[in-house]
Each structure stands twice: as C-alpha cells, then as structure tokens.
Amino acid sequence: MTKQVDPISLQVIGGALHSIAEQMGNVLYRMSYSSIIRESQDLGAGLFDRDYNTLCESDSTPMHIGSLPGYLRGIEKTVPLDAWKPGDCVIHNHPYYGASHSPDIGIIMPVFFEGELVGFSANTAHHVDIGAATPGLVIDIPDVFAEGMLLNGLKLFNEGVRNEALWKYIRDNTRVPSLVMGDLEAQLASAELGVQRFIQLMQTYGKDTVLQATKQLMDYTEAMLRREIAKIPDGDYVAEGFLDDDGRNRGVTLPLKVTVRVRGDGVEVDTTGSSPQVPTAFNVPFDGSTKVACFFAFRALLLDTYTHAEYIPQNEGSFRPVKVTSPLGSIFNPISPAAAEARFSQIQRLVDLIIKALAPVLPDKCTAGNAAVLSFAAYSGIRPSGDYWVFLEVNEAAMGGRPFSDGPDTVEELMRNTRNNPLEDLGMHLPLICDRYEVRDDVPPGAGKFRGGAGVVKSQRYLTPGFMTHESDRNEDAPWGIFGGKPGHGSKVELRNDAAGTVSYQPAKFSGLRTNVGDVITYYSPVGGGYGDPLEREPRKVLDDVLDGFITVDHARDDYGVVLGEVDDGYGWALDDKATQTLRAEMAR
C-alpha cells in the first residue's frame, strides 16, 4: 500500500498533469490541417492510467472530454493489456467499441516506465472525411458500414515501426488525404509529447508517488462534485421534449424524456421514454457520447468554472458520481449495426433536458432553454483537378437567459466549443463565399427578466457545383422560457438561387444535396428562451436592445411593457418612464 501523498506534492503533481494535457492539445490543433481541428478545436487529449482512468485532459471541446476511456476499453477487446509494447500506437474509431462516433479517430500510445506498462497517452480528433457514403457528414444511411472506414483497435505502429499498409489504406479511403494524413501526423506528435512528459513526471517524482497522487486527485474531484450533488434535494426530476425527425421519415417527431434521480451524493440520468433507435445515422453511441453528455451536464451545472474560484482537476473523479441508464435499442443506446454518426443534436438536447429537469431545484445555477443543437454543415465539391474539397462548418447558436445575466448571443453552447473559420481564410482557399454572417434579427430573443440569446444567420454561396449535407435539428421544438420567461424560436434553413429565382425551406437535417452555382444556403439558428418575468427587466436594458436592433419598439411594448418615445438625438428612441410604469402595472394585473 502506497502511503498518502502530502498535500504540497499533490498540488505540484496536479499542476504538472494539467500542464501536460494543455500542451498535448496545443500541439494537436496548431499543427493540424483541417479547419475542423485547427480552428474549431474539435479534439481532446490526455493521459490515462492502466485501468483506463482519465488522469488529465486538455480543456478543448467538452464533447471529447471523457470520451477516451471508452476508446481504451473498446481497444482492449482487440489489444489486451499484455499485448502492448513500447513504441506501439493504436488507431481506433469504432462506435460500437467505445468511440464517440466514427469520424473522431483516436490515437493511443502506451506509456512504459522501467519496463512496465503504467498508462496511456491518447487523443481524439474529428476528421473531415473517412470515406462515408456522402462527403464529410452522413444522415440518411442504412447502417454503420456506410459511415466509412471502421478502424477497430489497429496497430498503426508496431514497436516503433509504422504499418505502411494501414497508412496507405487510410490515405486511399478518404476524399481528402492531404488533410487527413496531416491531421494524423499532428495527433502522433501530440501523443508522443504526452508519453515523454508522463515519463519525465515519473522520473522526477517517482512512479508510485505520481500514481498515488493521481488516485488522490481523482478522489478530490469526485468529492467536490458529490458535495454539490448532496445539496440537491433527493427526488426524481423529469423533463421532456422532441426532435424534428430522423432525416428520412419526415414529419415523424421523436420523443425525448430524461429522468434525473438524485439520491444523496449520487445521481442517475435515465433516458427511458426517449425514442427507440432510428433507421438513419441519427443515433447516439452510448459509451462515447451519451455518457459523456451526462458527465458534462453535472460538471457545468455544479462546478461552473466561471463561478468557482478553484481549478478542479479534469479527471475520472468527475464521472464517478453520475450513473447513466439508456435502454438498449433506444436512440441513446443503439444496437449494432445501426448507424450512429450524427449524434450531436441529440446529446445537446440531453444536456438541456437535464438542466430543465433540475431548474426548479437549481434556480441559481440553471439556464432557460438553450438552442441546444448543432448546425454541422459539410460543403464539398470536386475541383477541376479531380481532387475533392470538403469543408465542415459549425454554426453557433444561442443560450437561454440565466439567473443573473442574459443568455449569450451567437455562441457555442453546452457540449460544443469550437471556433468559427475566418471568412477571409475560407474565401482565399475554397469555391464558396459567405454572403451574410450576422446576429439573427428576424425573430426576437425569448423575452425575460434576463432575455435569451440572439441566434446567428449565415449564408454560404456555392461558386462551383457541389454537394451539401447538414446535420442539425430543432426547426420545430423551440427553446423554452423559464420562471415566467418567454420561449425562443426554432431554426430554419433556406435554400435560394437568385439567378434561378428559386427559394425553398429545407428540413434541419438533409444529406447529399447536390448544389448548383449560385445556390445560397442560409442557416437561421434557434434563439434562446427567457429567464424570469419580462416585466421585471430593467427598462434601460430594453431600450438598449431596441437601440442595438435586437428587438423592435413594438416588442418592447408588447412583451416587456416598456414604452419608448421618439427623440432626435441620432439614436431615435428614449424611455418614457411614466407610460412604462402605467403599462407594466396594467400588464401585471
């Protein structure tokens, strides 16, 4: 039995682990080629012990944080612990063996210290194209085999020697080898760095001390989360919603139901009552995605890094208090060979429903309805040279109003946190041009004491013929208001061609659309719901929103009871305090 590591060394080793994970993430996204990794940072990186516990993880995209242990457990089916050799490297993306979804390719290297396997250095990154049925993304496909290359625990390096046949296989089976192979190189550099740093850490402090410290750090994180869960009254908390459709059977909505069972300092999330699995790619891998979403929800709600002063290490400890139950054969736990690539919108909703379920008992920590969606657009085409171009774009949305502040506008919410692509960089390199990228102002944000966030509108125009797949949801079920706040709005997707004089509205998700020169796809994101009674909103803030064009004068009067009068000061409007008081008194009755 190793003795307890003293509190001083514990801080020192904890800081070092955090720093290693950050550096692994940095190398990966800076060196990478595809915009989805380098700009959007759709990646995760960290160190793991030989029991597959997360010791530390980079603070990149939440969706990846907590997914890697699933990869490691899945790989064990092919590569048992005693089959690892120094200098090995495994590549893995199989969604029924722990992967988050198939485009998120994991690179895993073992860490040996004094001849003994002590853990792993690993990362995942979203690859632009793995040779699926349609370029970049898929929706309406029959099964997991149509998702593209399935790499199930394959050794990319054997004791330091690269498996050239596998390397060539990957190169030959993606539409954009120049991006994918470069991104894999970046993943290798990042994992190598983790191996070196982990070994150095053990050389400095001793293996037993480091491993004991990691155990204590996990216990610490677990204890911090349990402390917060224990403050929530025991009970079953339920919330429901629905998804637009599965991407094939239009008009058939899919129910969502989440039950949160709080018992003492532990919690269970049960998705029973949600839709059965669907016949398209719109399912969610259980280990790599459903569970990760639930872990995220409790960390963000209860250990919010903005309101908590202390840094709490990101490790396995934050997963332990949260149990996740999804019936086999349901949308959150599909049975192979169901496809499960397009899973992000559902897990966003899962998180949002957890927030909604707990809002009555966590009024100071929750939000009103968030957009809780993903607009993931795959634009592609074939250049005159015969090479493919594929560009994956994440469109942001908005958050719901909050207990002490408005919902942020035009932002990456919940499980995602990517960066947008500079329009100028895209314009220089792709046959696609952006015609509009602004705050959505055709509908107002959900009214409330703290209003919902305004959404985004983005228009991309094809300069050459191409293809498009759009993975999204939530044209139908608008984000809710809470504690008297008004709901926000759902999304819409417009396809127009000015030369041809055509306009049509698309479902939120569609795949393999063939596009023509001059086709403009415009995405209007959902808009967040309001928090609290709009009549309690400070009139000054309502005026600001009118002057800034987020809402109209009519909306200020009708929903907020704020009356404005015209003035000639260059801005146009001023508060009419007296009329506002009168109107608000009337409306309150």
Partner: protein
C-alpha cells in the same frame, strides 16, 4: 548626454537617470515615487524632478525621456475608452459581436463574453454599407455606395462619437473602398480619430483585424490626450527633451506614432522588464536568459534566446480576452506574486493564488487587516525577508502576524509545523511559476538547461534559485537593481517600427508574376517604414530592415515566422524561407515535413534604428571571499530542504566585483533580498549583477 527612463507601475513609478559623454563623470541614479493613477503624467514629472535633484542635474538639461506606460492597457481592462463608430460591409455587421464564437469556459453555464457584454463598438454604432471586394484577387464585385458612407458619417456626427473605424471584408486584398470611405468620413468629422483596418493591421482574418482596429480607436483619443498632456507637463517644468514611448514589441516609438497607433502600447509596461533583463544578461555575458518579473499579484515570464527577444505568435496576442494583431514580446503573465493568498479550499486542497491580498489589506504582516497568509508571510516566517529591511525599512511589518496567519490557516488544519507550512506555500507558488516557465520554454522547444534564470521585481531574487532548480536552469542572475529593471530597460532599447501585409503565396510553386506582386507589397512596406523614419529625422545609414515571411504548410491555420533574406523574393530566397520555416516548425512542434508545400501568408518588415545604450560604471575590484566587513548580522533562515541555518546578511552596496559569497547567505539592498542557499556560491560581476551557481 542626459537620458531618463520612467516606468509606471500600479504602485510605484520608477525612474533612472544617466549622464554620459566625453569629459563627464558617468553617473547613474535611480529612485521611485508613488504612481498617480488618475493621471500617470503627474507621477512621471514628479519622479523626473526628484531624480534630477538627487543627481544634481538641471531638468532643462535632459536630452531624452523614455517612458513605459500602462495607460493604454488600463483603459482596455477598465473599459474606459472612447465611443467608437464603425462602418462595415453590408451583411457583416456583427463580426465583433460573434468574435470566434468560442466561449472562454468549457464547463460553465454562467460565463461572460466580454466582447458582447462590454463591446468596443456597440451594435447601434456598427453601420453596414453596400460594397463588396471578392477573393482571391481583390476585384470589386460591388462598388462602394458613397452616399451610404456619407449618411453613416453624418449620423455619427450627430451622435457625437469620438472615433470612427472603417472595416471592410477582404480589404487586405484591396483597400480602395476603405481609403475612400475614410476620406468621406474625415471630411464630415474632421476632429474625430478616423482609421481603417488596412491602416492599422493589413492582414487576413476579419475578426482579429476588425477588433484590433476597434481597439486602436477605442484607446486612441485618450492615449493621445495623455501623451500630449505628458509632453505639456514636461515643457511646463522646463523639460524640453525628446520623448520616446516603449512599445509592446520591445522597441521605442515617437509620440506622433504612438498617438496614431496606440494599440502598439498595450505591453508598454512589462516590455521594459524583458529588455532590461536582456541587457543585464549581456552585461554578464549571457545570451540565453529566462526572465521572471515578480510583483505583488502577478509574475511576467519571458525567454531571451541568443540575445533575441521572442515575439508572440500573432494568433496568441490578446489583451483582456480581445485579439490584438500587433507584435508583442512573448510575455506570459500568471497570477502568482508576493501577495498571493494561501488557503485550504472546501475540498481540503492546499491552494496558493491566484487570489491576491493586493496592496490593501496586503499580507498579514502588514497589519492592515489581512489575516490570510500570503507568499510574503511565508518568506518572513522562514527568515528570508527581515522586517527591518522590508522595502528598505520604509514599511513597518510584524512577523508575528505572519506566523499566526500561517499557523491558524494552514499549519494546524494540515497538522504541519509552521515552517513546513510556510515551505509548502513557497513550494506550491514556485511550482506554479515553474510550470508557467515550462509552458513558455520546454513547450516551445527551448531547453532550460542552457538558460540562465533571472528573477527581478523586488521579490524576484527571493525565488530565483528555487525556480532554477525546478526548471533545471543552468545558473541564476540577480540584477544590480532588481526593483527597477524595467526602468533601465527603457534606456537600452532601439527605435522600432513594424509593417505587415497579407500576401498569400505558395512559395514552392510561385510564378514570376506572383513573386512580383509580393515584391511590390514588400517595396511598399519598406517605403512606409522609410517615410516614418524620414519624419523622425533618422539618417538613411542608421536604418536597418528585417524581412519576415509568416508561413504555414498549405492547409494549416497557424503561421510561424521564417526569416527572409535581404532584397526581393525569388526562387532562391523562397527556398531559404522554406528551410527556415522547416526549422521553426521542427522547433515548435517537434515535427516538420519536406514533402508539403509552404504557403506564405503575411509579409512583415521590421525597421530598427540603434540608439545610445545605458552604461553602468564598473565596480571596483574586491576579489574577497565572504567579506566580513559587508556583513550586517546573522540570523536564522530556513531553506527549501528544511534546514534552519544561522545565515549572514550582506549589504549589497558594500560588495565589489569578483567578491564571492558562499551559501547560506542573504544579500540585502533597498527593496530587494537575494537568497543564496547552502550549496550555492554567489559571484559579484563587473557591473554589480550577481551570478549564483552550484558549488
């Protein structure tokens, strides 16, 4: 020649004056006065008059004043800038509102987005106009609607905005629309601060360019007013000297240039310290130096390699969470300093910082009501800072309050002795600093084993040896005046201007026509530099130009700097750039590729002019070992290994060149104490800097 350096910090304004020249006794005098945050120029002038008094110099005889200021930075942090209007491309009104759409916290629902809650330009003042420039050539797809520009300008006039920016998409390809719009706005708002994005930073990536332009305008009117008021106050006191301002890139600039591009001043404060560190290194024959400037609440870390400052990748240059696309020294600030508070969090973890006790209430030993222990209290308890020499005896402190705070808050709950708890505080804070140094060195391909660690700021030399051990640095230097290293840095830097233009070019496939286009851009950048230097009255022979190509592999998104040979671009110089880029990529990432095409994204020209450099008088030769005559007294001091030893205190002003002090020893001077632990020996260098090495 009489020159003055003035560095304004949060609490103190440091001043150094130098008299030099033939037939004159070389003289260097330093002093400090309290800063005057409401108008920094008051403290600046008061300090100059004070130092003149001490040195016996007439203020009117000063030739040049070099100034490092935090005015610009404070204005951004406190959001106390101008009301700015923006004219932008129709369809793209909200580029500043969306930023990069990434939130600053992953695990948070209640986070703040400063670019939305405290915008540099409010949405109501962002007015779109009709115009369109198309990539990749810069052709005009939709001509500028001049009437709309005029209407926008008139609206701004009516609203009384202080500054107007014009920021159009793809203006780095063709800035004709921005230029024309600027003329129109100028004609309607002759008194306003008007600039366009291609003037401020002519590079690709709209959010970063627009935001940098907005920040320049946001701080422009007030920074100009400050610099003019400083100039006026100096003149009113009979000081008719040249005034030069420290910039973020480590060069100095004129008042005129600083008024036009105040965005270059955002690191004006900390830059002086790094330059001072480089100069101290040179005086000691050390080209590889890691500097750490430790203050009360934060520590600034930078790396100097082969005597060269490291410039931050422009993708990482931010101030107050907003991008600033101007060259900055790579300085990493962390929340760790003498005032960092030690505490146990609700989960029982032992924490030190980033929360700071600040100047008020300050560390427990100040007796100003702060009862939580700080890093300073740990130093006092361990006998590393003597109460009677605290700030040169200017401040009275009570060591028993330090002990009480550590005992009650840390030692008793953790069942440690007070010494153990105090050592723990230092170990944790030193570890935070060491990790930050590693992130700035090891993580960027720098091996600290070949570097000297230099701690300055009053508290720097208390931590230097411990930090050097933690990062495996080669040795340690304690500069002659640790507390005013930043002010001396002002007197040892060059005049420097930088100009950039995004000129995308795949280097290994470029045609003659493409090279010509890039060379035209290069010529224009050099012409702009020459125009500025002409205005400064710098003779042609003193001008030096450095050309840099910022490159990436085709498809990547982050550029790295590659040096470019002198003269025009062509196939041969392109090959050299590709080699230089390969080496940079290898150093930064550990990997690089020969089979990938290299794309130049941005051209950069750096124009420098050497100015006189501060020279300190050499110390007399001592050559003594542990000179008794310099010993003040001996007292108990606890070192990192837990040993408590009777340790001599030496007066630094009694030490001479080549004197050697064997550890354990403390070297005391006004406002700073240098620790020499057992097993180390300190050697006094020619100019009074102290080199500390393992025995």
């Amino acid at each position: 020649m009489i020159r003055v350096g003035v560095d304004v910090g949060g609490t103190f304004t440091d001043i150094v004056i130098e008299r030099s020249g033939e037939g004159v006794d070389r003289q260097v005098v330093v002093t400090k006065v309290a800063s005057t945050p409401h108008d920094q120029s008051e403290g600046v002038v008061e300090g100059i008059l004070k130092v003149c008094g001490l040195a016996g110099i007439e203020p009117g005889d000063i030739d040049a004043v070099f100034h490092g200021t935090t005015v610009a930075t404070n204005m951004v942090i406190e959001r106390d800038g101008a009301e700015v209007g923006m004219i932008t491309t129709r369809g793209f009104r909200d580029v500043l509102h969306m930023a990069r759409h990434k939130r600053p916290h992953n695990f948070s629902l209640q986070f703040d987005l400063p670019w939305q809650s405290k915008p540099l330009v409010r949405r109501r003042n962002r007015l779109p106009v009709t115009e369109r420039i198309m990539p990749p050539t810069g052709e005009i797809a939709v001509p500028l609607d001049e009437d709309e520009v005029k209407q926008a300008a008139e609206l701004f006039a009516k609203r009384g905005v202080d500054a107007v920016i014009i920021a159009f998409l793809f203006s780095f390809l063709n800035n004709a629309h921005e230029r024309r719009a600027k003329e129109i706005v100028r004609s309607i708002l002759p008194g306003a601060f008007v600039s366009c994005s291609s003037d401020v930073v002519n590079t690709i990536r709209e959010y970063e360019r627009f935001s940098s332009t907005a920040m320049n305008a946001y701080i422009g009117p007030k920074v100009s007013a400050y610099l003019r008021s400083l100039e006026g106050r100096l003149r009113a006191n009979g000081i008719d000297a040249l005034v030069r301002i420290m910039q973020s890139n480590g060069g100095i600039s004129t008042i005129e240039n600083s008024c036009e591009f105040p965005i270059g001043l955002l690191l004006s404060g900390p830059a002086g310290g790094v330059i001072g560190g480089r100069w101290t290194g040179q005086n000691c024959g050390k080209g590889n130096v890691i500097t750490i400037d430790i203050g009360g609440t934060s520590a600034d870390i930078s790396v100097i390699e082969n005597g060269q400052l490291r410039i931050k990748n422009s993708r990482d240059t931010e101030v107050a969470a907003l991008p600033v696309l101007v060259p900055m020294i790579d300085i990493d600030a962390i929340g760790a300093g003498g005032g960092s508070v030690a505490y146990l969090d609700p989960g029982g973890a032992f924490r030190v910082g980033p929360r700071s006790a600040g100047a008020v209430p300050g560390p427990a030993c100040y007796g100003k009501g702060g009862d939580e222990p700080t890093v300073t209290d740990a130093q006092v308890v361990l006998g590393r800072m003597d109460p009677e020499h605290f700030l040169g005896g200017d401040l009275t402190i009570d060591g028993s309050l330090s002990e009480k705070a550590i005992r009650e808050h840390i030692a008793e709950p953790l069942k440690l002795s007070v010494d153990e708890a105090a050592l723990g505080i230092l170990k944790i804070i030193n570890n935070s600093m060491a990790l930050a140094i590693n992130a700035n060195s090891v993580a960027k391909g720098i091996d600290p084993r070949n570097f000297t660690l230099m701690g300055f700021g009053g508290a720097g030399p208390l931590h230097s040896v411990s930090l050097a051990e933690a990062i495996f640095a080669k040795d340690v230097i304690s500069p002659v005046h640790p507390g005013i290293t930043a002010a001396t840095g002002l007197l040892v830097t060059d005049l420097q201007y930088e100009y950039t233009h995004s000129t995308l070019l795949v280097l290994d496939k470029a045609t003659d026509a493409e090279f010509k286009k890039a060379n035209d851009a290069l010529d224009e950048l050099i012409a702009r530099a020459n125009l500025q230097l002409d205005a400064d009255g710098i003779s042609r022979t003193n001008r030096r130009f450095q050309q840099i190509a910022e490159c990436r592999y085709v498809g990547q998104g982050f550029e790295l700097r590659a040096d470019m040979p002198e003269g025009h671009l062509g196939t041969r110089s392109a090959a050299t750039i590709i080699d230089n880029f390969y080496n940079a990529h290898k150093q930064v990432y550990g990997h690089a590729f020969r089979d990938q095409s290299c794309e130049m994204i941005t051209l950069r020209v750096v124009a420098t002019v050497e100015v006189d450099t501060l020279k300190l008088p050499k110390l007399g030769k001592g050559g003594r070992t542990n000179p008794d005559e310099a010993v003040l007294y001996r007292r108990r001091t606890v070192f990192d290994d837990g040993q408590a030893l009777e340790t001599p205190r030496y007066r630094r002003d009694m030490l001479l060149a080549d004197d050697r002090l064997a550890g354990p020893a403390l070297i005391i001077q006004h406002n700073s104490t240098t620790i020499v632990p057992p097993g180390y020996v300190a050697t006094v260098m020619d100019y009074g800097d102290i080199l500390i090495r393992r025995t």
